[in-house]
Symmetry: C2
Subunit: 131 residues, 2 copies
């Protein structure tokens, strides 16, 4: 299930803040881009129909929470872009990431670590195949 642009904005808020009311979602969204309360509400209702979010109706002000998992959704979006925009070339995608935003030294260090891990995993796969 692929969220639209507006839906992604809302999911982001829910991922960060956890289960909250429409009012609270609206406050955040409205800061990013002036939007009417009912627009956010409508999106949330549609997202519920799609199964992207769920809500607790016990109190008068419904509490919404993300159903679409952050990691899973991000993974889908990334692999989609990897294929459609970069024809599967991970290196090209990473190159653009590093260029588009001068990554901080901490981030670079973190990324190095991930590469090392990925290399280890690849190693493991190869030796497994040899059997």
């Amino acid at each position: 299930m692929k969220p639209t642009a507006a839906e992604l904005e809302i999911l982001s808020v829910l991922w960060e803040q956890g289960p909250i009311t429409v009012k609270d979602v609206h406050e955040v969204i409205n800061r990013q881009k002036p939007t009417l309360y009912t627009t956010v509400l409508k999106h949330l209702q549609i997202m519920q129909e799609k199964g992207l979010v769920a809500r607790d109706e016990h109190s008068k002000a419904h509490i919404y929470r993300a159903v679409a998992a952050k990691k899973e959704t991000q993974k889908n979006l990334v692999s989609d872009m990897l294929e459609r925009v970069f024809r599967g070339s991970a290196a090209q995608l990473v190159q653009h990431v590093l260029e588009s935003k001068a990554a901080s030294p901490e981030e670079l260090k973190e990324i190095r670590k991930m590469i090392r891990q990925a290399e280890k995993d690849a190693e493991k796969d190869r030796s497994a195949e040899e059997k």
Copy 2:
């Protein structure tokens, strides 16, 4: 200027093949997903209006070429995703790239090289700031 999904498919073809006729574009697209010739043509006409492509009308069969630069377009899409989906965290994005497709050893090596380069650049920036 942000291409739609279908437009991106077509741009990809033009980026790979260089200036070609509608017929040739259609052959590639049709292989990926069965599509009528006139659908591809219509997209190309719309894309021309948007300025994403240009065409040479000298021969009867028009020759289309990409105007939207590959690098530039990719960069826009990546930085857009970086902000909207990962709140600016390059490391998180790269993590997903490495997971979503087990990168080949060659690619990993290439990525390492890019990291080293990025670190050098960061080093340079820091010493420049110290002055």
